[in-house]
């Protein structure tokens, strides 16, 4: 059973990689990253459920990953807002030059 769940997780991760690499809009890139984190959560829980005998540290890892996701999202949006405010740019191509 754990193989099936890991396959699902791998598929979600693949879609996330595609999204993060192909999208131009900053927020869409973040959606790709979130999908990758989604896959990670699924894989961790699958391992926790199937191979660790219910070690609570597996769950703790999921909680930490969720915290990382919240941090990524908050910081990401904040930076996108700051970049937009100063450079009026919402896609990566407008940021070829990072210095003013």
């Amino acid at each position: 059973m754990i193989e099936v769940i890991l396959l699902i997780s791998a598929a979600i991760f693949g879609v996330g990689v595609y999204g993060a690499l192909s999208q131009q809009s900053f927020v869409m890139i973040m959606m790709g990253l979130e999908l990758m984190i989604n896959a990670t959560v699924l894989a961790i829980v699958a391992f926790w459920w199937g191979t660790t005998g219910g070690d609570p540290r597996g769950q703790l890892l999921v909680v930490v990953v969720l915290a990382v996701m919240a941090i990524e999202a908050a910081m990401g949006f904040a930076l996108v807002t700051a970049v937009y405010r100063v450079r009026k740019a919402d896609i990566t191509e407008k940021l070829k030059r990072l210095r003013n």
Partner: protein
């Protein structure tokens, strides 16, 4: 799964019932509206552009704070379950955690994050 299977069935049943009600109304009485009838209400003036447009959401700083603050809920649910067994240790640890987060809340408040920016 047990009980949550029942919850899932109820969830789907309610959603399907509402969707069927809507579908029945379109099947039983198909209406074709003329173009002026389809204009969205905008206080009497016909709108010139689509409503879906770029829009300045003026509470976005608060939204960022919510993203970070909401994480505290994830820690708090398991904490509440074991609170009585752990006793004073649990109280002090969570108090520390919350006080750290409240500093962020107060900072945002002082930076006028809860006003319309």
């Amino acid at each position: 799964m047990g009980g949550l299977g029942g919850a899932l069935v109820v969830l789907l049943a309610a959603a399907v019932a509402a969707l069927v009600a809507r579908w029945l109304s379109t099947v039983l009485e198909p209406t074709t509206l003329t173009v002026p009838e389809r204009v969205p209400f905008a206080g009497g003036v016909p709108p010139e552009v689509h409503a879906w447009n770029r829009y300045h959401i003026r509470y976005y700083v608060m939204a960022l704070l919510f993203l970070a603050f909401d994480m505290e809920m994830v820690f708090m649910y398991p904490w509440a379950v074991v609170f009585v067994k752990e006793g004073i240790v649990a109280l002090v640890e969570m108090l520390m955690f919350i006080l750290i987060l409240v500093v962020g809340m107060v900072y945002t408040w002082r930076e006028r994050g809860f006003t319309w920016a």
